[in-house]
């Protein structure tokens, strides 16, 4: 104990060891958060580029696109025209000239845009924020310890993620362009450059994800070890807050799932660079394109739950805190998460119903997939039960928590259509799938992330985020999100395929032109609304209202630590006396009873 106290009081650090190569879990968490927010803008920007093409196929982009006169008669009218004139006159083959001449998105560039949008959002935004940022920041604070079990591994995890991001971004500028085989990288499209013309782009994509895999692996080992070994006295497993449970389960999923992707990526690299044929069927024998799909989705489906489980954990915290009530059915919430994580391993085939996999397997995977509705329903009903007879405070984090639940309900219900094999024949590979994934990952995970950021910001930076800006951001995001993604269900029901750059090439999709334009306008609104969040985030870091130690009156341990949290977190490690959701306990004066508050009238109070 003495050594630790020494560490927490007299820890002097240089700028580099404090802010850059930091070993402190809180700083690493914040680094992951800012990393994720930066990548969020890259990923979102790519989406806006291809949304423009979908609404106005083969029309130049606004602002940077060439004017009509220039495109038809070569007459320079606008500043953008001058830019294009310079690009065409230069000797070099400019990047813009190859990918979007005159500001029109080329089909090959379009494929690269949606491939990279998904890759970045999944691997470089949602996982780093949910697992990297919240995992690092919250685990030691909420279980009551001074840091992660392996601080150096923790730092390594962040810097590997940075290396992966750099390699991923470099891929945009190599000859042949970036990976364009979808984020799912189906072979043989991805495994042989002759089918796409993409050369090092796809290689860098695979190498970057391999490195990102190591980063996750290192992080997950750290989380698991820390949660098992370093809980404060009295913090039993069933006194862990649900967000810690969710991160614990997710760490196990990451540990087991990512190596599967890594091996698939390694085989892909061999196929591309060493002439092997793991994923190519040749007449002489060789491999099988379906092998890639099995490996990818055996990783990919647990990955989907990696994206949503921490969101569920965060939402549970928000809903309990702001309903001022214990979580309804705490244990069944834990078991439901374990059930989801377990079922996540035996449902991967539902991505492959139309792939040519044996039809009998389709029926098996339909059954297991449908079963996921059960734990999902348990969680939803328990969130409702938590609000039942509560005293609900509509703070901005709570609004995000409520949005999470409602969007998750839509995302969950739309999943039933796709799990159903006969219905999936029709909606597979259509916008229905796109709508579903965005309701789960944006409507679910991102609303939880936004809520979590606003909720824990006072502990992270000692200040509140500006509430007016937060509320504007919430409502704009909530409305624009639904306007963007709900109509995609309708597109899907109309048979609108995903991953096509120009729907107007098809007779049966002509009626959807107006809807595509509406979706694009909503998507731009949604994109601009996120600028408010980022402005608010950085502005509040320096100018926000100073927050007290426990502004939301929360029971869990992170709020026992002083604000800003010093190195080593707690003066003295707290002892835990009760579960994490003791709100409105009868007979107590306050409507919250902290986990670390000793039981009433301890007989041996004198020391």
């Amino acid at each position: 104990m003495h050594d630790n106290e020494h560490a927490s009081h007299h820890h002097e650090e240089s700028f580099i060891s404090k802010y850059i190569f930091s070993l402190d879990h809180k700083m690493i968490g914040k680094q992951f958060l800012i990393y994720g927010l930066l990548m969020f803008f890259l990923g979102g920007g790519l989406a806006l580029l291809f949304r423009w093409q979908l609404a106005y196929p083969e029309k130049p982009l606004p602002i940077i696109g060439a004017s009509e006169q220039y495109m038809e008669e070569g007459e320079v009218v606008t500043g953008a025209d001058r830019m294009w004139e310079n690009i065409y006159e230069s000797e070099k083959e400019e990047w813009l000239e190859v990918n979007m001449p005159n500001g029109v998105v080329e089909p090959a560039f379009y494929n690269m845009l949606f491939t990279m949008h998904a890759t970045i959002m999944v691997f470089f935004v949602v996982v780093p924020i949910l697992v990297g940022a919240f995992g690092n920041f919250l685990i030691p604070l909420m279980i009551g310890t001074r840091d992660m079990a392996f601080p150096i591994l923790n730092m390594l995890s962040f810097w590997l993620a940075v290396l992966a991001a750099i390699i991923m971004v470099v891929g945009f500028f190599v000859p042949g362009g970036h990976a364009a085989a979808g984020w799912t990288g189906y072979a043989p499209l991805s495994s042989d450059p002759q089918w796409t013309g993409v050369d090092w782009g796809q290689n860098l994509w695979a190498i970057s994800l391999l490195i990102q895999g190591f980063s996750s692996l290192v992080g997950s080992i750290n989380y698991i070890t820390t949660i098992i070994n370093m809980r404060a006295p009295g913090m039993t497993f069933f006194r862990l807050p649900l967000v810690i449970w969710s991160l614990f389960i997710v760490a196990i999923l990451l540990l087991l799932a990512f190596p599967v992707l890594s091996s698939a990526l390694a085989l892909l690299i061999f196929d591309r660079l060493a002439g092997t044929t793991f994923f190519t069927a040749t007449t002489e024998g060789g491999g099988d394109p379906l092998l890639w799909q099995h490996l990818f989705w055996f990783f990919g489906h647990p990955e989907v739950y990696i994206l949503i489980l921490p969101g569920m954990g965060i939402a549970s915290e928000l809903i309990a805190v702001f309903s001022r009530k214990p979580i309804f059915g705490y244990r069944s919430m834990v078991y439901a998460m374990i059930a989801i994580a377990f079922l996540g391993w035996i449902v991967w085939g539902h991505h492959m119903f139309q792939s040519g996999m044996r039809p009998g397997l389709g029926s098996v995977f339909m059954t297991t997939t449908m079963l996921i509705a059960v734990p999902s329903a348990i969680k939803t009903f328990n969130w409702l039960g938590t609000m039942f007879r509560g005293a609900i405070k509509f703070t901005t984090p709570m609004l995000h928590g409520i949005a999470f639940v409602s969007m998750f309900v839509i995302g969950g219900l739309s999943g039933i259509y796709m799990a159903n094999t006969p219905v999936d024949i029709f909606i597979h590979d259509t916008y229905y799938i796109v709508a579903h994934i965005h309701y789960v990952v944006f409507g679910g995970s991102l609303f939880a992330i936004f809520g979590g950021i606003i909720f824990w910001f006072p502990k992270m930076y000692g200040r509140y985020m500006n509430d007016v800006l937060s509320k504007i951001h919430f409502w704009l995001t909530f409305i624009a999100f639904n306007c963007t993604f709900f109509p995609m269900h309708i597109l899907g029901v109309g048979g609108h395929m995903r991953r096509i750059s120009n729907p107007m090439q098809y007779e049966f999709l002509q009626t959807f032109e107006g809807m595509n334009i509406f979706i694009t306008m909503s998507a731009f609104t949604l994109g601009f609304a996120q600028l408010i969040l980022v402005f608010n985030f950085f502005w509040s870091m320096y100018r926000g209202k100073v927050a007290e130690q426990n502004p939301w009156q929360v029971t869990t341990l992170e709020w026992e630590a002083p604000t800003p949290v010093p190195h080593g977190n707690f003066g003295q490690i707290p002892t835990v006396y009760r579960g994490p959701y003791e709100y409105s306990v009868p007979g107590e004066e306050d409507d919250w009873t902290p986990q670390a508050r000793p039981e009433h009238a301890p007989a041996t109070s004198g020391d």
Partner: protein
Amino acid sequence: MLQWLPENVSTFGQGVDNLFYGIYYLTLVVFILVMGTLIVFLIKYRHQEGKRADYIEGSTTLEIVWTAATTVIVFGLAMLSYPQWNNIKSPTQFPDNPDVVVQVSGKQFNWDMTYPGPDNELGTDDDLKLENELHVPVNAVVHIRLTSEDVIHSFFVPQLRLKQDSLPNRFINVWFEATKAGRYEIPCAELCGFGHSGMLGYLNVHTQESYDAWVQERWP
């Protein structure tokens, strides 16, 4: 949402649509109940000065009820779906003695159709190769031998409620019976390269007379 579903013109399509409608109404009811409850709770149990939340930790009975109810519903739904799925996709359950057999092969970025001709054998001199045009008679069982020459494509006819990926060096059997003459689009539904958007064939469903005339013209 329902009126957006394209017209169905296959024998098995109605089964798919019925399941779709069934799930639609089921999920709609669940959605309204859950959202209704949520909204009522949000209004009724909003924070009011001097009022405290009730300390409720949960209810085992309720947990058992909603676990059991959801399990029964999803298993029921799965039971209803097996026969439809097998009818469409399981080669052992395809109708025998097809009226027409065609090999369809995806190739960046076209659908190649190969008819075996009067000898009913592929790879002989009387084969007929057509690019992006598939001709079949109405009310007849069609078997398609689906394959690909390069990457994965997906044979999709929205009005038939039929979709199947095509794979290189693998032959996947697909069947359908169209119930209405017309010309329908066959988009590729699986990303297959820069020309994926616009990879488009046509399914021409003829009346029997018009189909016979077409056959007569090709193999006089």
